[in-house]
Point group: C2
Chain length 701, copies 2
């Protein structure tokens, strides 16, 4: 189960703190390692290892058939009529938003037999990468000689915002400047953006997430983790006849060369050792503790009743998923072998740089500078981490409203991320989402985040005093959630349209709470930019350039939730004293279910019991490949040499969790649903032959 949840507000920065910003490229890519940008595909490796030379057209077709799901996943066009395929767990957020106490599409699944029955996703944006342009010279040139780190960072950010705005105005495409190779390169990515996305099909969660949290991030696996949406423009399905993936007749075969085209979220493969140590010793333990706390609160809430349980299901799922992934990453950071390897690599690289006087002068100090940012971080770690109002969707929206009206008054280059002109449309789309809000759950989450601040910072912390005013966290949360109208999208819209004066004079208790918190949030953000991020970025850029000098552009940049190509082969691996097979079958699904007496999370949806006899149980179900993926790749298509769809990425094995820091070709595996399994269940269990026809190109709407 791999998913990177993209977050857009100041309150929810990248995974563990600013460290994920660092993106350096790996100079020694062994085996089938690598998440390659489409401008620099691993042509040499493919030719040498597989005798395969993808044409420009092959690459372009794959790029234009690939889709980014902006709430954190990947996908692809799989029919001529705008049908896009992703994971059930990527679509889960939308499925829950269109569900009600009466109609639970998460539990029961969903199938629109006609276009009319398709259900509009309240706030899902899809992106297709249509153009890439190297803007390194402009961004890097913006930081003039003699500027301080802070000023240089500001100048760069301002230039990036300007490039994005110009591009948006000129082309109308969503335009993002992406930092690659740790600042070694900056690229402008232009996306075709879709916001009218409608649900077409989802299986029951029991089968999509068969085995639940225990089997999550493991293999052999038996999940049918998929969902289908249709992309509309002008109230009509788009014409995707030119760029969609043709369905393979047989699907993935053992040992064959396959590719994954998707959007890995972030990796730390080039983070200096000092940064990794800080993650291990400071950030990771706190990140885990916070999430464990939140899961406990949600479990308590879910225990109140079946409707509460339904509401809490999705956030619990994401938190457990994150916790299991963090556990694996944490284990990796504590693995002496891995740490020794990474330290040796870094020492070797630093020796190389130190040996050349010119390089030494230009880049030699970078690691010590980076260490300063880590040291600085420690001085304010607790206030930076706990003076936030994280974890409640409702509070998050209130904060976005309060910050929105203040930010848009500033020059574009000076705004917080998420509020640049080029981003406003996406931000408003999300902020005005009609998706339901569950006040009981929001209250529990808000009480938790307030109480966590008390527990970690003490009752005398100025932020704690400001938000609580001497009362208990539970009292404040109860009163605020009971009295607020922020749950109403029209109210949020009216405030945003009313501007700063409307927000400042608004008597809504949640808006008032956020107004009291906002100065602290901004203060800590500024501190982080000045004392941590700016130093990290400057040092990181030096390290990135040093790598270019020393090794050339022979490898791939750390992941950035932008389109990447991975390659590898369908292959089992040594496991548990024996070998994991290249794929599982439907036999394995029934084995695992009966091995645990059909008890949750090994329960089967009733159709899987009643219609079992219709299935060819030897059909491949899930398979593994050596492709290098990470959270955010969820829903990525797996294609063969012909560019045909052969599988759907939905997870990595337990051995891949360390992939945040290092790729192990021997045991790291990407887990995918086999294309044949999708057709098998659509036709035989769901009476969805029409949909199967559309996928296989033998019919359509």
């Amino acid at each position: 189960m791999t998913q990177q949840t993209m977050r857009r507000t100041l309150l929810l920065p990248a995974t563990l703190c600013g460290l994920a910003i660092l993106t350096v490229f790996n100079a020694f890519a062994p085996a089938e390692e690598g998440m390659w940008t489409l401008d620099n595909p691993p042509l040499k490796q493919l030719k040498e290892r597989y005798g395969f030379e993808p044409s420009k057209e092959w690459l372009e077709h794959l790029r234009l058939s690939s889709v980014r799901f902006n709430d954190g996943g990947s996908g692809s066009f799989v029919s001529s009529h705008g049908l896009a395929l992703t994971n059930h767990h990527v679509a889960l957020g939308q499925l829950q938003k269109v569900s009600t106490a009466e109609k639970d599409y998460v539990k029961d699944g969903f199938y629109a037999r006609t276009l009319a029955e398709e259900l509009k996703c309240p706030d899902l944006e899809l992106n297709v990468l249509v153009a890439q342009e190297d803007v390194s010279a402009r961004v890097q040139g913006a930081a003039k000689k003699g500027m301080t780190g802070e000023a240089a960072l500001k100048a760069r950010k301002s230039e990036m915002a300007a490039i994005e705005k110009e591009s948006l105005e000129k082309t109308g495409f969503r335009s993002d400047v992406v930092t690659l190779y740790n600042g070694g390169e900056y690229w402008l990515y232009r996306y075709k953006k879709y916001t009218d996305i409608r649900l077409v099909f989802a299986p029951e969660q029991l089968i999509a997430f068969f085995g639940g949290d225990p089997d999550n991030f493991t293999y052999p696996r038996h999940d049918i983790d998929f969902a289908l949406v249709r992309v509309y423009e002008n109230d009509k399905p788009i014409d995707s006849s030119t760029h969609h993936l043709k369905w393979s007749e047989h699907g993935a075969d053992a040992d064959e060369l396959v590719f994954v085209s998707g959007h890995p979220g972030s990796t730390d493969r080039q983070t200096p050792m000092v940064g990794l140590e800080q993650q291990r010793d400071q950030m990771m333990p706190r990140a885990i503790k916070s999430r464990e706390r939140r899961v406990a609160v949600l479990r308590q809430y879910a225990a109140r009743g079946s409707e509460e349980s339904r509401q809490a299901q999705r956030p619990i799922f994401y938190l457990e998923n994150t916790l299991k992934a963090f556990g694996g990453m944490f284990d990796g950071l504590k693995d002496p072998e891995l740490i020794t390897k990474k330290r040796n690599d870094e020492n070797e690289f630093r020796r190389l740089i130190a040996a050349n006087p010119e390089w030494k002068k230009a880049y030699g100090s970078a690691w010590d500078e980076y260490a300063v940012s880590s040291k600085n971080y420690l001085t304010q770690m607790k206030p930076y981490r706990y003076r936030r109002l994280t974890g409640s969707n409702l509070v998050n929206m209130a904060l976005q409203v309060v910050q929105y009206v203040a930010e848009v008054k500033k020059p574009d280059g000076e705004r917080l991320d998420g509020f640049h002109d080029s981003q406003l449309e996406s931000t408003r789309f999300e902020l005005f989402s009609p998706a339901p809000v569950y006040p009981g759950m929001e209250e529990a989450l808000l009480a938790n985040t307030l109480q966590e601040a008390v527990d970690e910072l003490g009752p005398n912390d100025p932020y704690v005093k400001a938000v609580l005013g001497g009362r208990s966290a539970a009292e404040v949360a109860k009163e605020v959630v009971a009295g607020t109208k922020v749950a109403d999208p029209a109210f949020r819209k009216s405030l945003v349209e009313g501007g700063e004066s409307a927000v400042q004079s608004c008597p809504d208790p949640l808006i008032a709470l956020v107004r009291r918190a906002d100065p602290f949030v901004r203060e800590m953000h500024k501190w982080f930019e000045d004392k941590v991020e700016s130093i990290e970025v400057a040092a990181g850029e030096k390290i990135g350039k040093a790598r270019f000098e020393a090794y050339g552009k022979s490898a791939y940049p750390d992941a950035t939730f932008t389109l990447r190509l991975s390659y590898g082969s369908v292959k089992g691996y040594p496991m548990n004293g024996t070998q994991a097979p290249p794929w599982t079958t439907f036999y394995g699904l029934y084995d695992r279910a009966h091995s645990f007496g059909l008890k949750y999370p090994y329960e089967l949806p009733s159709r899987y019991v009643e219609r079992k006899g219709m299935l060819d149980l030897s059909t491949p179900l899930d398979f593994v490949s050596t492709c290098d993926i990470i959270g955010g790749n969820s829903g990525s298509p797996v294609v063969n040499r012909k560019g045909e769809f052969v599988g759907l990425i939905f997870d990595g094995n337990i051995e891949s969790l360390v992939g945040d820091y290092v790729y192990s070709g021997e045991k790291n595996r990407a887990v995918a649903v086999h294309s044949s399994a999708l057709i098998e269940v659509l036709r035989k269990l769901y009476d969805a032959g029409g949909l199967a026809d559309e996928l296989q190109g033998t019919g359509g709407k």
Copy 2:
């Protein structure tokens, strides 16, 4: 896959050297640890943890229903008419001996539909433990005060032989004196002995050993590893109506209390650290190297053709099995956590002894004395290990002949083990076996053992000179095997009956070769007894007694291939980031087969493909329990509280391999075939309803 191969000649002492002789008991038995003798069952633990109090009759019935297979495994009576159940891999030796190039019962399986069709095993002896008597006082009293270590060892051995002989003459039962608790106790075990054993049923090896070497010693597992033999006396099936295991209607259920009654071969749980370190650093690497060499030779031989492949199958199977087990044990010995734990336990025990002046005086020097034996061992390790003619069955028989005629002339107490009066009948039964000998394979193995001696000892070693006489190993092996008549049981019998003069004057080239080797073998054996074993035994006895003093007789002795009772519950365990289920099903068998494209070792016998539709695929196939077992337990029955048969032990999981040194309750699991699976295949795939009826007590012969 667990099996202890019992060896009886001087040339093939216990697993790794004399160290396995050491049997001390474990004073702190956590969780469900323990292989308990039937005179000292874990009544307290069973009552406290399970509220279960087995009666004397319950224990006696289980003992008298349990059977030792003297070629290295365990089993049980399972019908009124002498039917005994064990593993296919325990019966494998006999199956191969009755097979020919034309009729391969290993490959095709075997089923005697009538008593007349049952096939007599050429050299299988079964034992049932009918009585146990504590003879500690007599054995320990034989070593008088003031005797040297060597003299004391001799005196004890002589006394043990005398006790065995007396018992045999008095009762007619096979009589073995067993060293328990590291010499803390000696017990006389009397066995009812059966030698007319006939094969009744065996499935195809493909399904008995499904998954082959890769899946061996792992779980989840899908083997149907069983065979049925019938025990005869006076050419009639014995009447086992009083003592056989009733077949359970439903078989093992999740979480239920179960027992294993079998014959664990040997453990080193109480070996002092210095002994374990020697195993790790000296013995284990050489033991592995020797076996790898032998496997390579056999693979080369098997590659010559299909008949050669058939001949080599069984020895390759056993060697691979041993190598995988050794690998796990070796990993255990290299595991810093395990080593630290064992060292701390030992230090704590030694502190306790040192703190009591009386104990200190009596036992305090034992560890240092033990260390002397380890040091001595190093001085002659290579000649001791390589001046042998191991690894060829034919050569082994020749050596037994040569030693037999010399040994029987000595007083009983002075003979080599295997040639005491009480043992002669069993030795002759095995030595005169009509089982086929394959000269080509024997030649390859003899050439290998001779060449190994050259490689390890050098061409100028006196033993090498004596056996090769300046020629090459290959030449000598070729000539000797071509010219010998030792393959003929009548020839062997004539030599044994002709006595020493017949053997000394025999011109047979193999007998001549063995005559040249025998003095070296004896010399090294004597050196080992004098300089290693006698010191170990004396030190070990002190340690054993020290434990009795310090902790009382509250635990179990190390394994000794004698009857033991283990208990535990049917339970999965944490594995590979998720959980292993309590059992697998037939669905899992088909899953694994199809996951590997039905390729060897995941190929299925044709009846499993053709008749698949007849099976209830949700039937439990293999299951795991926390029972503490080790090699030698292969074929042991698993019984429930009612003493009913619920499963058939055939293996331990990969986490159990370290069980030679320590039991881990969290992950150590015994793997068994579920009783329901046996009935399912007998009735539905093999048309063996009559046999199933006999097992279930609903019919019989």
